[in-house]
Each structure stands twice: as structure tokens, then as C-alpha cells.
Symmetry: D2
Subunit: 402 residues, 4 copies
């Protein structure tokens, strides 16, 4: 009789949602409670403070929405900008594309800087555009910190330097959905004005909690914008409603309790490991993955080492091979979920997410599975070569710095 159950666990290596630690699963198993009770702030008030650490921020303000990261993109734009406002944005992958698309649909005028997929935001070009904007019509620069589609990390600090060098007052928005909590992020140092995170990546939670950290400057922009006639329509994602309630530990509407309890536990996980160790671990696992790719004789989508993302690696399959078929086969035959190539790179790449709660042997299992799936589809890689290279690297490089 045909099996209707697949044995063992699914090996989840998409670049989000990521594996939820058991203790976070436990923490989320909560009965409903009155979110207006006198006890409730004991849960919530520390969250607003403690979440800032993963942003590298002390001066920012955290808002928590029942929403996915897409909603938080919108929250950043609709709170601070008005119809017809100009924004400057780099496009070099599916997610930077989608954010730009959103901005246009919301009624903003987006100056798009297309970069080759496999590279990232170009601080020089950004600086140029800003210098050319004598009237300071550009209200915001939008940067995707980590482009999940191509496995590329942009240098947000360099973008800030370019802005400052241009002496331009623009706001700086960063999409950190697949970086915050996994890659070093320095909100205050980089003077990011809106930094967007989702719950289902480095924060190791299910999707459904949208997190944004907002600078004082962005809060002021929101105040100004809110009075204007051509403001972008929004209430749900409005910061001002939250500002009235959050300081006392409450929300303007019913929050999703499991995710708040989960966030508390996830932050505890990150702190117990140590954020520096977390960042280091992502680097080590990312590098181990790249060692495997090299041993297979394949190339990553990232054009140069400086673009390498430590949360996701997009791997180019040889000409004539259908990456989508490999991904489907890996899932059906080996219970391994790999990320697909999107848009321009559909069918050309598969992606290994190495983000969130993960260690050496989980990753080696996935590398073995990717290799088997490639071999099954005629990609000529040396059996065992990926694991050999990755494991040799991992033996030399412990996950923890300390």
C-alpha cells in the first residue's frame, strides 16, 4: 500500500520561514488573555526595549504589528511619505523589485537604479543621484539590506556614507527582513530611519509579526506627513496610534499573543547564544555552504565575494539543467525544501537558506540532499564532495566565537 505519511522531519532550507526552536514553540502555546489587563504590560513593555538590540539601536522606536514583512514595508512608506513624493531605490533582485513596485502602487515616484542581479546597492550611484537632486525632492532612499532572491548583502553603511557625503537630508529605509537577527545590523551607526524585520527569519518565529524600528527623524517625518492632504491613506499601520498605547504596554487593537510570547523567547534565545555568536555562526554556515558549492564546481549567483550573503546562497546550476526540477525532486524524494529561483533567475538557481536556528549537521544534511538531487538530475558533481569540503571547513571553524 502506498505510504500516506512521510517519515522523519522536513529539512527546511528555504531562506525563511526558518526553523522554530522547540522552546519558542512552547512559549507560543498560550491560552488567550485580556490584553487590557494590569498584568499585560509586564509582557509587552520589555519587548519594545529588548527588540532594539537586534537592530543595533538604542535611539529607535519599535512598533509591532500583526502583519508580515510586506505590511511593514508599507508601514514605512505610508507613515512618512505623501503622494507623488520621490524616492530613490536600487533594484537587483525580486524583493527589491517588489518593494519598488509597492512604492509605485502607493503613488510614489520611484527613481529606480537597476543593478546587475548578483550585485547590490551601489553607494556611488546613490551618491550621484542625491547630489543631482539639488532641490532635495528625494524624500527617501530604499535599500534592501539582504536580497533573498540572489543571496546578496548590500553595504548599508556605505549607502549612509554616500548620503552624508552628498549632504542630502533624505530618509534612509532598509529592508532587513532576511538579515536582522542574523547579520550584523547597525541601525544607529548607519542612521537608518526605518528598518523592517519579519518574524519568520532571524527571529525564528512563524510569520505574522511585523517589526519595524523607526528613528526620531522618521517619527518627525510621520508627524509632518500626517497632517497633509495628500498623505498615503493608512490607519492600520499608523505609528501614532501605537505611540499612544505602547508606552503603557498596550496596543491600539488586539495583538497576536502567541507571537508576542514567542518574540520574548526568541530574543532570549538570541541573547543566550550572544548576538555576536549568532552573527558569527551565520557567517560560518554561509562560508561552509560556499565551500560546498566550490567543491561541486558550481558558482553562486553573487558575483563577487563582497556580495555574499551569510543567510542564503543562490547556486547557479549548469546550462541545460532545470533548477526547478531539482528543487521539486529534493522536496519529493528527500523531504528537503530548497528555495526556488525567482523571476529573472527562475529555473537557473536553487537557494539554500542558512538562516535562523541551525547548526553544522543540519546544514550538512541539506548539502548532502542538494547534491543527491543534483546527481539524480544529471548534474556531474563528485559524490560526497560538498559535505567533505563543508565539513572540513566546519571542523576548523567553530560556530561560537567564545
Amino acid at each position: 500500500m502506498a505510504a500516506t505519511r512521510r517519515p522523519g522531519r522536513n529539512h527546511l532550507f528555504v531562506p525563511g520561514p526558518t526553523n522554530i526552536p522547540d522552546r519558542v514553540m512552547r512559549a507560543m502555546m498560550v491560552q488567550s488573555e485580556d490584553h487590557r489587563s494590569v498584568d499585560f504590560p509586564a509582557l509587552t513593555k520589555p519587548l519594545f526595549e529588548d527588540t532594539k538590540a537586534v537592530y543595533g539601536s538604542k535611539d529607535g522606536t519599535i512598533f509591532l504589528f500583526p502583519a508580515s514583512g510586506t505590511g511593514i514595508w508599507e508601514s514605512a512608506l505610508s507613515n512618512t511619505l505623501s503622494r507623488g513624493d520621490k524616492v530613490l531605490a536600487s533594484r537587483f533582485g525580486q524583493f527589491s523589485h517588489l518593494w519598488i513596485d509597492m512604492a509605485e502602487r502607493l503613488g510614489l515616484e520611484v527613481i529606480v537604479q537597476d543593478e546587475e542581479w548578483g550585485t547590490g546597492a551601489n553607494p556611488e550611484r546613490i551618491g550621484e543621484a542625491l547630489r543631482a537632486d539639488k532641490n532635495h525632492e528625494i524624500k527617501a532612499v530604499m535599500v534592501v539590506h539582504n536580497e533573498t532572491a540572489t543571496g546578496v548583502t548590500s553595504d548599508v553603511g556605505a549607502v549612509r556614507q554616500a548620503i552624508d557625503a552628498a549632504g542630502h537630508p533624505t530618509l534612509l529605509f532598509a529592508d532587513g527582513v532576511s538579515s536582522i537577527g542574523s547579520l550584523p545590523f547597525k541601525m544607529d551607526e548607519w542612521k537608518v530611519d526605518c528598518a523592517i524585520a519579519g518574524s519568520q527569519k532571524g527571529l525564528m518565529l512563524p510569520a505574522g509579526l511585523g517589526v519595524i524600528c523607526v528613528s526620531q527623524k522618521a517619527l518627525k517625518a510621520a508627524e509632518t506627513s500626517s497632517g497633509q492632504n495628500d498623505r498615503l491613506a493608512h490607519v492600520y499601520f499608523d505609528w501614532a496610534d501605537h505611540q499612544k498605547q505602547n508606552p503603557a504596554g498596550y496596543f491600539p487593537y488586539t495583538p497576536s499573543l502567541p507571537l508576542l510570547y514567542g518574540l520574548r523567547e526568541a530574543l532570549a534565545c538570541l541573547n543566550e547564544e550572544g548576538l555576536e555568536n549568532v552573527y558569527h555562526r551565520h557567517h560560518v554556515l554561509g562560508e561552509a555552504t560556499r565551500q560546498a558549492v566550490a567543491a561541486w564546481g558550481l558558482k553562486t549567483c553573487a558575483k563577487e565575494p563582497k556580495w555574499n550573503s551569510d543567510t542564503v546562497t543562490a547556486i547557479l546550476v549548469p546550462e541545460g539543467v532545470d533548477a526547478a526540477a531539482i528543487i521539486k525532486h529534493a522536496y519529493v524524494r528527500y523531504n528537503l525544501a530548497l528555495g526556488a529561483g525567482l523571476s529573472k533567475v527562475a529555473g537557473k538557481v536553487f537557494r539554500i537558506g542558512h538562516v535562523g536556528d541551525m547548526n553544522e549537521l543540519s546544514l550538512l544534511g541539506a548539502i548532502a540532499g542538494a547534491e543527491m538531487a543534483m546527481l539524480d538530475h544529471g548534474v556531474k558533481v563528485q559524490p560526497g564532495s560538498g559535505v567533505a569540503a563543508a565539513s572540513s571547513y566546519l571542523r576548523e571553524n567553530p560556530l561560537s566565537k567564545s
Copy 2:
């Protein structure tokens, strides 16, 4: 030594969030999975179909958002209407007030019909307003089906009749956040165009899943509106993005898995009890509560029996008594969470939610607790009288019809 733990469970009788059945809690305890996998639609596709039953709809289209009910209010307005559009809305409690406030903040022109708190939408006045609107400038009528603040249920069917009698082409929007899944709701029969539900009431889930059922007419309005220059800015809550993905079982952005699995289980719970039984049970528990109130010699906020809500009862405390103090005392001393009076009725009422997963003895415990809290605060009620009246009624009236 002072206790730092309170024994036993919290008695949750706010009108939402409601008690989550253990089996729904279990169902939500899921590890992350790839929401683009070939297996995923087996979970999601039935949800879009099965959720319609609680709306009393066959012709509608369901959209599921990671959001609270507030977001779904916005989804209804921003998808179908444009800046400056006129809408007609009755106001008779805090939630009808808030929805109107949202509409205004989004840039709509709201014709407000204020009704006495303790009553509901007035079909006659609505009919009048529509008849007076010769040019059909009113694009939508907004009705809160169940006003949670005052414990009042409006007659949406009568509103529909008034619209039809006026021969007016307006859309009809109903907020069913605290009614859908608990009170009879007849989307198709009442020709409701947008019906809004939250997850944390009759659906017995945590907050965080926004549910809307949309008529064909509303979908068409959304299409028309989307091309217009003065559309209300929105992307996250846009239906069109979901319409592209949902039929295949996918979403435009990462959904919150626990809530989808929870929804499946919650719908199974409702179906196993039988929706007719669920509605009947809410009526019986509501009536039992009102029997207790009468035995106490107190009055409900609802002015006449026809306004009585079967999901929440707002109870007026005698002059000179601070309802807020009673609520706080009930929580601190008896671990009983009652709903507070909001806005106009703050301090004058406390509310007992009898919505969601609940049975006779849970309710009787709450009635006993409310009575004790009142006695402790000097309200002269006969000890045991509430439970005596409610239990006598409950002995005669089984929760299940069949």
C-alpha cells in the same frame, strides 16, 4: 512569603479574545514549512471554501490576511472606495465609532447617523438617507453587526431591505468581528458586500488572522477603483494580489502558518458542534446571563430586548458605583477578566463576554465572580441570585438543539 503565582486558570470573559479550545492550541503547534511547496495547497485550498460557511455564503470570496480585524476594516474600505467617496454609517458604540474614524482618516466623507448607545443601526433612517441621495453619491453603507461595546446586535437583514426599498446601488459593509461564527450571519441572503471577521472571537483563535468575505459586486468595485488616480493607497491589503495566488493555494506573501492550521481546526470544531447548535448555544448562554442580570436587579446597556447581543452583555452598575473598580477587583481578586466600559460608558458598565468556546459551568463561574466583585464593592445584590436564575434557565434550556 507573598505568592508570585496565581493558582488555577484565568476566567476569561472579555468579549474577545476568547478561549482557545485545547485541540485548536494543539493544531497551531506547527513547525515552519515551505509555503511554496507542492503540499501546501492541500492545507489552504479547503480553507477558502470552508470558511464561507460561517458567513452564510456560497457566492463570496474569502481573503485571509495576517492582521487583526482593524486591518480588515481597512481592507474593505481601501479596496473598494476612492478618496472623497461618501459612505453612510451608524454610530452607537465604540467600535462603530472607530470604524467611522478610520474611514475619515482614510479620506472618505462619512455621513454619520448617531443612534443612542444601547440601540443599533436604524434601517428607517438609513433608508431615508439613501432615498435622499438622488445622485447615488453614497458608495457604501457601513454597519457594525454586533457592537461589542454596548452588547447590541443590529439587524443587518433589515438594513438590506431598507437599501433595496430605496433602490440604491450602494455597497453594504458589515463588521462581524464579534458575531461571525457565533451569531447567525447571512452574507448571501442579506447581500452583504464586505463582511469582516477577526480570528479571536467566534473563530476561537488568537488574534492575528484577518478574514473577509467579499461579494462579486465588491470585487467589481475593487477592480474599478484600482485604476483610479484617487484610489486609497494600499498594497498589503490588496485583494487583487491574493486573487492571483489564492486559487492555486498560495499567498502573495508569507502567511502565518499556526493560524492557518488553527483555522482548519476551529472550523472543524464549529462543524462538529454544528453551526445551528453554535448559534443556539450563544443564545442560551446570552439569555442565561440576562436572567442573572435581572435577578441582580440591574439593567443591561441594550435598551430593548430586540437589541440584545448573544455574544456580550454590557451591565449597568448602579449610580455612584465605579464599574472600572469592580472590573479591576474581579481580575485581581478572583482572576476573572471582564470587559470594561469604553468611551461614553466608561465606568458605568462592565461587560461579560459569552462568546466562543464556552459552556454552562464556565459561565456560571463568571456570574458568581461578577456577583462577588459587585458585593465586595457595595453593590447590593442578593448573594447567589445570579447563579440561581441563570442555572434555573440553563437547566431548562440545553446548549444543543439536537
Copy 3:
């Protein structure tokens, strides 16, 4: 269509298993782990120490078995005694009966002192029997501290005084299954040699973890007995195997992890409430129940106030009424689980367990339910009278001492 799901939660008022706090449920949700790992003792070693507090012991030794309380009865007898050994035991209910029955089946000679059901162990008679036992043939005195069948608590301290007054070297065994963790228990002060607890009562866990606290004297008796030819056959429940492993944090065979994690959390619950508060709460809830019984005009099985158990009340129904029918009706109609009358009192009593994690309003719901079930079966009690009496008492007597 007939409902196949019952709404709301079951109201569990049998005297065990008891309600498990949500946080204990969470704590038990653990994946398997290697119980021989270097990390494991960090979990287990504190358990052996911390569990002693609920026994009122510093000098005792704790053993933890994957077993129910029945197994731990056997562990006490088979480790310390030999075939044909004489033991002295009082019988005054179904559980004292069953323990005696076990002793006989194991090959011991039991001198049974029958006491009227509704009373407990009689220290004077015990003293007499011991004084008459000039040759000290009686090796152990067996006392059920709390007889769950009749709602009677024996005075173990007085039994100890009787033993000492008789100058008899016998061991003293106490069954504390339905008392330990709920009623004051003073292992060291009373010089109890074996004290037996189960997990599913005051420890608020599922059944399956058998707990025994053993005195130095009992350990010595076990050593002596183990060399003898006519020892009672046993390996699974052998203390010596555990003594070899426990000090290092290990077990002679695979322990049940969820229950160990659950025990840790349950002990934390008890400590956070404070054991004195826990005992006080059980007394207050017990007294409230008795106030309800008196208001109903009924009698408890316990013959005199001094026998009243604070964990369970057995209530005598009027002549001609079938208590079993009331119990079944309460379960089927009101989702209320009451304890049945056993053996001699079958059909004559129903029992309300007020043990474990519970508070005022839970109990009042159960009292209301019991009253309704009685009324439905023709018992003439005043509607609301039980709740009125109990709630008046509870208003005056807070659950927490401090």
C-alpha cells in the same frame, strides 16, 4: 444534525487526575534527548532535592519511577519487607482497602484494623496493637493519609506519637497520593519512613510518575531485606539500583522525560505560590465546598469535622437517590466530572475533588453544576444555595495567606 463536539472545557472535579497548569503542559512538550548525556544531570539532580520540600523532608531520599501511585505502594512494601512479615494497617475506605489487599497478595500478613468509613486511622488502637506486639513482629504500620474514597484525612502525626508511646521499632508508611503537595505533610517531623505520592494530584501532572520519599531507617531496612531468601521479588522498583545512579543524575533505565520536565515546572508553580499558601488555599476551597454542602442540607461522608479532607469532599445523597445517576448526568449534561462512590459507598455519595490547580470560580462552577445535576434528579436543594454559601465564605477568606 447531532453535535459530535461538546463546546467548552470539561470541568474536572474528580479527586485526581487534576487540572494541569498550562505552563506545566508547555514544560512537558519536549523532544527526546539522550538521558546519558553530560547535560542531563542539570535537569535531574535538582529534582531529587527540590521534591523533598513537598514532603516536609530534609533527611529523606527521593526516588522517581515511571509508574503510578499503585506501583509506589508496591515499592515501599517490596523493598523493606519479606514474605510473611506482619504489618498493621487501618482500613476505612477503598484506597486503604486496596493497599491492604496488595500487601496480602505480595505475601505479607496484614493485621487489619477496620474503622468506620468516614473516620480514619485510630492512633489509640494502633498504639494498643503495638503494645500487644511484645516480640516486635510488626514490621510496618501502613496509614493512608488522605482516604480519597471518603474524603477523610488521618492524623499521621498522632499515629507517630502512638508508635513512639508504645516504644515500638516499626516502620511507618504513609500513602500521601492525594495529600502530598496539597495538605501539610511533615515527613521528618512525623518520622514517616516511606511516603508515597503520585504525580496526578497535588503535583498537577499527568499520571505516570511515581514519587516516594524514604527515610534513612527504611533504606537500612531495604538493605537488610535485600539479602534475605524470602525477600519480596522485585527489580523494577528496587531502590538500590536507583541509589547507584541517582546521585550522578542518572537512572537505571530510561526515564519519562516529559514528566521530569513537568515535575520541575510543577515544583516551580508550588514554590511561586508558596507551599503555605497552597495548603491554605486547599483548606479554603475545602471549607467553601463544605459550606455549600451544608447549605444544600446534605451531609458529608466524613463523620466529624476533624476528619474533613481539604482535597476531596464526599457528599451523601438523600436515601432513594442514585448518586451514580447524578454523576453520569453531571458529566453528560454539564460536562462536569465528579468522583463516584466506591465499594461500600457506591451509589450513596458523589465526590467533589478540590485538589490541585484550582481557584474560587472554577470551584463555584462545579458547585453550581453539582446542584443542577441534583435538582435534575429530584434532590430538593434550594437553587443557588450552594454557590451563595460558598461564595460568601470565599469573599471573606482569600486563597492566599499573604
Copy 4:
């Protein structure tokens, strides 16, 4: 700062306890309920029937105890045998040793047949011993089906043939703790009289539920034995008490609810995969492990292929290498739990458990980890060789037959 949390999950490859499927974890998350209620048998009665399938039995009777497998060993012996009875037992590893030790401590006379560790029960020698036992003094033959310590599976069917060929009426007891539910077991065909399973291996549950399947012949032996003066003392593990209650769906004492609910779900898992597929999968994963061992140039403890266990492989490390150090290092450095060598093979072997809920990539992760741990300790194996060999085999051999 030093990390106090280890990232990612533990890789559990001890031969039990095994990984618990998430759905089984969910199923066990149950609140307490009255185990005497009218609803309870709906849970329990099917368990007694459905559990037989994993034993390959239709004629047997299942007993379920809150206990570990050690307790069930005792249950088999103490129910059927009397003091001084002779039993015949093969010893070829730590677990066969411990069962023999238990029998002796219970007062039985054990005729021990020592076999070389790395081999199993010898049907010929057993036949010889039985033929020599003219007076049929041997009451039972004890066989460990799968010796977890050495990774050896004995041929129970051949033992049965030897018994039958000798025309001896002895009972046949099989310890199937680490085989039942994972390896083919044919209770009825092999005429096994007592077959012992634990919950924490093939049944994919936590430890704490002891399962035994008993033949009609063994039930009769128990009846006979129970009347005798020199019966082995036992009450907790007595079958007769269970026989009185089980047919109606009840137990003589409080059962551990989470484990019963877990058992129901675990059986559903096994059935949905299909038992034949489950057995096949264990064979494939076992063989893949052995391919890795061969590629490393190492030997298994099992002396010949016919002894190979498909649930656990014991791997001999080269002379001069401390296997215990490798195991500890694997745990501390790579979060990989391997089984230790016990007794005679302590320090000489490490064991990889491939039993329970597991698939290819989990196993490959463990093989990679074992290899890394060996390399770190100076064992000269070719990096990647284990994974290369195992994955090549796994690519050719799907886990599912159908």
C-alpha cells in the same frame, strides 16, 4: 560572552529514546480527564486492538503499563513463573545480560548460554539444552530479539523452530524493546508467548509506557502461577487486574493519558507509512549506515552480516582510540548524541541508532557528524567518504517500497 544556548536542534542518534514526530508531540498535549468517564473507552479500546499489528499478532492480548521496558521484562517473568523455576537464556550483550540478572534477582534459576558479543541467540544450542531437559523443568526461553548494545538481531523464528523440534513445552519470551515497530516481528507465527516493547523506540514516544503482548498460553501459565505459594510477588504488573478492566476500556489504576493519546497517534503514523514500508525504511537506513562504516574502513560489532541490526549499528573504533571520547566530543562540539559502548565494549564502540522517525538527510547529517568527531580524534577516515557511500546507496534505494 560565552554562549549559554546551543543553536539548532540536537541530533539524536542513540538507539532510543528516538525522535518524536511533531504530530505525536501535539497528540500528547492533553489536559487531564476522568479515566472512569463514559467517553474514555473510545480512546482506549482501539489501542488494545491496534497495538497488536506492530507485534504481528491477532491472537495475543495487549497490556499497557505506566512503566519502562524494564518493568515489562519483570511483568513477563513475575506473572508466569514461580520462585526457583528454571529458565534458559542467551547472553550476548548488555541488555541480554540485564534481563538475565533480573531473572536471577527475582529468584529464578537461569541457565545462561553465553554467546560471543557480536552474535546472537544460537538456536542449535537452545535446541540442545531443551532436548537435554527431559523433565521439562525449563519453563521459559528468554531471547533478546535485538541486542541494542552490539547492534545484533537474533532469529526468533529459528529459536521457535528449535523449541518445536525439541518437542519442549517451554514458554518463549522475546525482548522486542528495540525492534518492535521497526523490525518485522511475528508474534503469532513465531508463537512468542510474551513480547516486550517500550514506547521510546519504534513507537516514537517518550519512555513511560510499557507494552506487552501475551499469548493465550502465557495467560494460562499466569493463571496457574497465581495460585501458587511461591509465586513471584507482584501486584502492579499483574495481568489479571488489567484483564478485569481492559475489556471495558478501563485500567486498574490511573493511566498516563499523554502516552495513551501519543500511542494512538504513533500507531496512526506507522499505519499511514505502512508497516512494510517502515520495516523497509529501517533496512535501507541500516544498510546505508553500514555502507558508510565500510567506506571509513571500519568494522561493526556484528560479526557477520546475518547478525546486522537494522535499528542500531555498533562501530568498532581502531585500537588505541577511545570511543567514549569521540562520543563526548560529538555531543559537545556537534550536538550529536551517539550511543556509548556498554560493559565489555565500553570505549571500543560507538553506536548510531537508526531507529524510529527518521529519513535520509537526518542520517547523513549524523554520519557526517560521526566522521567529523572521528577525524577530530585522529581516526584516519577519508573526509566525506561516509556520506558519499551512504548517499550513493540511498539514491538507489528509496525509503518506501511502494
